[in-house]
């Protein structure tokens, strides 16, 4: 029998103290039955080692304008675990969102519905 609780890593890239967004998203994912591993503000190396050691099914990045840091984190994760899906939220300008999407990252800018984010998590982790 399989007890397929899916695991999601939630990290903030760069120096940004805004916790409310990722916390609300993490709560919604928890309430949808996911196991959410929070690491808060993290360096790209910390994001990578957490993604590997925790063997997560999905990475959620909260990006606070530091798009280059986010890109480095994405490149690092994708080079080590190419199969691992990534989605991102936060105050991401439209042109940067396009860049991220080109890297295969789904982007949920401010104003996104929590239900859409939960749906995306279910789809990306293969739960649905």
């Amino acid at each position: 029998m399989s007890q397929a609780q899916k695991r999601i890593l939630m990290a903030k890239t760069g120096l940004d103290g805004h916790w409310r967004g990722p916390t609300i998203v993490a709560r919604a994912l928890r309430d949808a039955g996911f196991e959410v591993i929070m690491i808060g503000m993290a360096s790209t190396d910390d994001i990578l080692s957490a993604a590997v050691d925790e063997d997560v099914d999905l990475v959620g990045l909260n990006i606070g304008g530091h798009i280059d840091v986010a890109k480095r984190a994405i490149a690092l994760v994708q080079s080590t675990r190419p199969d691992l899906p990534i989605f991102a939220g936060g105050t991401i300008p439209p042109h940067a969102a396009k860049d991220l999407e080109a890297l295969g990252v789904e982007v949920y800018p401010p104003g996104s519905q929590l239900s859409d984010i939960v749906d995306a998590a279910e789809r990306l982790t293969g739960r649905k």
Binding site: M1, S2, Q3, A4, Q5, R7, A26, R27, L29, R30, D31, A32, G33, F34, E35, V36, I37, M38, I39, G40, M41, A42, S43, D45, D46, L48, S49, A50, V52, D53, E54, D55, T80, R81
Partner: protein, 317 residues
């Protein structure tokens, strides 16, 4: 995937034994996800040479600073040339089954050193302050070459003390103002610690807490008295001294034969727990059968008493 689970596990164990982190991480996931995985892993590991790691358990109330303390101890733990793994357990929601695992927020900046492996685990309904598979997870980590393992239980109250059955040495984390002498004399926490830490020692109430704790511990009849440390995890105050104290206490307990005594009790405790889980799940299955549902109906109508029902169900298991 489940069909070739044994061969998948064998291959992963080989890689994990060669210090391959992703392989170890995947084994821990299989252990959590696939009910059949635990038995296979234990069978394979039992045939491997015994390498028993040094396991330090950290327990205490929510918010006492267990995660921060472990984070602060990591440099000292690594200094002794060890590879240090952390297993951090947080609660699963009884409502959704989901979990918010936040211990790692306090444990940042160790990725540069390849000598730290941190894994968060959700309790998934287990009531002992750990998870069902913690003991096997410890064996996996030891197999992966992690010879120091720090286990953080979820924030506990008074009776969820399974950590006692798994750890070499148990550290109980308290804070100033944690309770008066009556609290300290209640059963539970104060009976299981080998080392007591009063964390957040810069807060008001330190002296009173130390006195209450000392009074309570003085009445214990254990051959080795527990030690008391004072720390401020966030500044590092007292942290190196705590690590030294944990080592000294473990050495004293080993000399007194306590560690071996504990180890021999462990098998029995774990077997008891595994049996109870097995019986519980069988009983739950029984109540989903036609016969079980009919019995439940009879109970609700008062035709059958609990005692009669229990005697009947036990014969069915």
């Amino acid at each position: 995937m489940t069909n070739d689970l044994p061969s998948q596990i064998t291959a992963l164990l080989k890689r994990a034994g060669e210090e391959d982190r992703p392989a170890l991480a995947r084994l821990l996931s299989l252990l959590e996800r696939e009910t059949a995985a635990e038995a296979i892993i234990r069978r394979e590991l039992d045939s491997a040479p015994e390498n028993s790691p040094f396991v330090v358990g950290f327990t205490g109330a929510p918010g006492a600073g267990k995660s921060s303390l472990i984070n602060a101890l990591l440099p000292d733990a690594c200094d002794s040339g060890s590879r240090v793994a952390v297993l951090a357990v947080d609660p699963s929601s009884p409502v959704s089954g989901g979990a918010l695992l936040g211990d790692r927020v306090r444990m940042q900046g160790h990725s540069q050193g390849q000598n730290v492996f941190i894994r968060s685990m959700a309790s998934r309904g287990d009531s002992g302050g750990l998870t069902r598979i913690t003991e096997t997870a410890i064996r996996l980590l030891a197999h992966g070459g992690w010879n120091h393992i720090l286990v953080e239980t979820l924030g506990i109250g008074q009776v969820e003390l399974d950590i006692v059955n798994l750890a070499t040495t148990v550290v109980v984390v308290l804070t100033p103002g944690w309770g008066d002498s009556f609290q300290a004399n209640k059963a539970g926490l104060t009976e299981v610690g080998d080392v007591f830490v009063i964390n957040k020692a810069d807060k008001e109430g330190l002296n009173q807490t130390r006195v209450d704790l000392q009074d309570s511990l003085a009445l214990l009849s254990t051959p080795i008295s527990p030690e008391i440390a004072e720390t401020v995890a966030t500044t590092g105050q007292g942290v190196s001294e705590l690590w030294q104290m944990i080592h000294n206490q473990t050495a004293a307990m080993t000399d007194a034969g306590l560690i071996n005594q504990r180890r021999s009790l462990r098998g029995r405790k774990l077997l008891e727990k595994a049996m109870l889980r097995h019986i519980e799940s069988q009983a739950k299955d029984f109540f989903t059968t036609k016969e079980g549902e009919a019995l439940l109906e009879d109970i609700s109508q008062g035709k059958v008493t609990f005692e009669e029902a229990i005697n009947h169900v036990v014969t069915k298991l």
